[in-house]
Amino acid sequence: MRREKKGGIIMSKDSLIKYRTAEERAAAIRGMLNLKNEWLDYVNKREVELGLA
């Protein structure tokens, strides 16, 4: 069951992701390691939107 509060969904036990295999977990770790690039793209986009780029 998802818990809600003002401002959005907050964590519940269902929020935690379970991986069935080591390969799935490895792919997730790889994804995490690439998150910074995703974040940098988002930062650049926000700076352009705000005219700060």
């Binding site: 959005g8 935690l16 992701i17 390969e23 770790i29 390691l33 910074k36 988002y42």
Partner: protein
């Protein structure tokens, strides 16, 4: 979750500009611009977990400036003053600065005045011949404290070192 730049700027040695709910920017006296913030995780949990990132102009080494650490500390403190915050970090070993990052988080944690309210839980993953430093910081009063820690431990255990870091 929206962090308060006003609270940060009450004590920050540099003026911090808010770009989004959890994203900030500031420029130092050495004319280095930093972006700092939190980004929602989608690998450990669907809600409630955030990765902490910081980058400077061109993402390079900058002159040592203790005021930068002060700004980072204030942003982290503002994050951990929220309800149920969970911060995750994973240090990319591919640019060989992973141990520096890992030490930064530990240094902040050890210097934080309210660290007794928090847990720093770390793990090193042997992944494709690299050591990947990871860690999680959460409040001890998090309602799912045990579950989050267990989930993190499950996530980092037995990472297959034979699987390449870069998919072929």
């Amino acid at each position: 979750m929206r962090l308060s730049v006003d609270k940060i700027n009450q004590a920050s040695p540099y003026w911090v500009v808010q770009l989004d709910d959890m994203l900030f920017r500031f420029r130092t006296e050495n004319d280095v611009t930093y972006r700092i913030g939190f980004y929602k995780d989608s690998y450990l949990a669907r809600e409630g977990v955030y990765h902490f990132f910081i980058s400077n102009t061109n993402d390079t080494f900058a002159p040592h400036d203790p005021k930068v650490f002060s700004v980072i500390s204030l942003v982290l403190e503002e994050f951990f003053s929220q309800e149920e915050p969970v911060m995750l970090y994973i240090c990319d070993p591919r640019d060989h600065r992973e141990s520096i990052r890992s030490r930064l988080y530990e240094r902040w944690f050890n210097s934080y005045s309210k660290r007794d309210d928090l847990t720093l839980h770390t793990a090193n993953i042997d992944f494709d011949g690299y050591i990947v430093y990871t860690g999680m910081i959460l409040r001890k009063d998090h309602p799912l404290y045990n579950e989050v820690i267990a989930s993190f431990d499950e996530f980092v255990k037995d990472a297959p070192s034979s699987i390449p870091l870069e998919p072929k």
